[in-house]
Amino acid sequence: MAPESHPAAAADAPSRNEHSRSRRFAGWREHHGWSAGASLRRLAARPLGSLLTITVMGLALALPLAFYLLLGNVQKLGDALGQSQAISVFLQPGQGAQQARLLADELGGRPELSGVAIKTPQQGMDELARMQGFSGALQSLGDNPLPFVLELRPRPDATAPVLERLVAEVRAMQGVQMVQDAGSWRQRLDALLAVGNRAVQVLASLLALAALLVVGNTVRVDIASRSEEIGVLLLLGASGAFVRRPYLYAGIWYGLLSGLLAAALAIMIEFALAGPVARLSQAYQGKLQVGGLPLWLLLAVPLAAAALGWLGARLVSAWQLRKAA
């Protein structure tokens, strides 16, 4: 039981002070690897608890994604139903090309408009002919009954009250039969979508906070259950960073896995919507191009969730270890 020399001397190892920086770095890197592996094994060692945590976080992250998907598609639906916010000015029958040009020149100088296009009766007829179901009816017409139409394109920064005033003024102009403001309902839709987008942002922030708290609480329980081990490590000279490391990796794993789950759920929602959306698209002659979540977002969600998990673990472990120290 009693060999002759000091154990460390017997090992013929250099003292701690003689360790080169690269060796220390190798040791530090090795501990990172160990911490990442050990924290993953701990998650696997209690599958039910880990699964519940990941599922709760995954659902919390999937919810704003689903709303984002829904809003994006409502926006696309709006685009399909009204390609632009153009204001159509139908001239009275009998108004010719010259009157149309004069009116277009007059309106073209308005500051709230970016441009005015003249659509001739023939162009209107051709457009109708291209639409399904109209070609037969048009053949039965003798003369072209369509009037000249001016398409007014508002500037993007033109506000709704300004455009409403413009529409009222144009309605009162001589030679104008009717004004159709396609932009007004679109503006209302855009306003609703802006409200929806803001609501999704708020919801996403709240649910991200919830996910952070879920990770934080899980790590808190984990740290509490290993308080004895932490105490020993601190007595042996472990730094706070050393003790925290496995818990930070646990937070990263929880976040990453729940982010992947959220992305998978979002893809499943896309697939679930695909059938009804295809039928809706057919009803609009294929104009409705409904899309899924962009790839960058699907990749960003697990990474952001991992960062969120790290943050939750970092906050809680720092607080817990301050108590333990």
């Binding site: 039981m1 009693a2 060999p3 020399s5 000091h6 154990p7 460390a8 001397a9 017997a10 090992a11 013929d12 190892a13 003292s15 701690r16 360790h19 060796r23 220390r24 190798a26 040791g27 530090w28 090795e30 501990h31 160990w34 004895e228 081990e229 105490g231 020993v232 490590l233 601190l234 007595l235 042996l236 000279g237 472990a238 730094s239 706070g240 050393f242 120290a325």
Partner: protein
């Protein structure tokens, strides 16, 4: 050299665990700190491990005051000393090897070197054959020897032990003390808190006697009967 200069420790609530304690322990010496329960033995060791801070006075090692070590420097200080506890403080879900390896992992020592040092330490305490076992499969005495191997594996300049033989039978306790004696002979300063007077007498080392936090006797090895 460890120096205690008029060191007092008063806990919240007013209990004074140590009172104006002054003594020196030269480097490479082995000394016992003894006294009745509540005499202040454990508090003294806690002050050396920076688990507690003194209320008054100065503790220094090799001329450097421990008061200058701030919170962030405590881990580095603790890596310089080895600590042995009565209740071993082993991690029961890790093998003997992993337990002994801990100070070297904390000290970011490379893996190959760690393996060499851990095996040397385990050989020193006679437990090399048990390296793959969990501590729960070992006897109390063997667990204490694992604790000692863990304390010496990083080659500390100071080894402190709080009642290291408290749960051991006399023969085993003597063997453990013999181990400490060997480390002292190799240049490590060893400070042991113990109330086992028969054992202390048999070891024939310097004895610092405390009573209610005060130094009542400081006996040189030859004065211990």
């Amino acid at each position: 050299m460890i120096q205690f200069d008029q060191v007092s420790k008063r806990y919240e609530g007013g209990h004074e665990a140590l009172s104006q304690l002054s003594f020196e322990v030269p480097s490479g010496e082995m000394a016992f700190v003894t006294g009745h329960s509540g005499a202040g033995k454990s508090t003294l060791l806690k002050l050396l491990g920076l688990i507690e801070r003194p209320s008054h006075g100065v503790i220094s090692m090799d001329g450097k005051s421990l008061a200058k070590i701030r919170h962030g420097g405590v881990p580095k200080w603790r890596r310089r000393i080895g600590m042995v506890f009565q209740d071993h403080r082993l991690l029961m879900d890790r093998t003997v090897f992993a337990n002994v390896e801990l100070p070297l992992v904390i000290g970011t020592v490379a893996q190959a070197e760690r393996a060499r040092r851990v095996r040397a330490a385990l050989e020193k305490v006679g437990l090399l054959a048990c390296e793959r076992q969990l501590p729960a499969t070992l006897s109390t005495g063997e667990q204490q020897r694992v604790g000692i191997a863990r304390a010496i594996v990083a080659r500390p300049s100071l080894l402190i032990a709080d009642e290291p033989t408290g749960n051991l039978d006399p023969q085993l306790a003597l063997e453990i003390m013999g181990l400490f004696g060997e480390f002292q002979q190799l240049g490590t300063t060893v400070l042991i808190a113990s109330h086992d007077l028969p054992l202390i007498k048999r070891m024939k080392r310097r004895v610092i006697v405390l009573d209610h936090g005060r130094l009542v006797a400081d006996l040189a090895a030859q004065e211990v009967l």
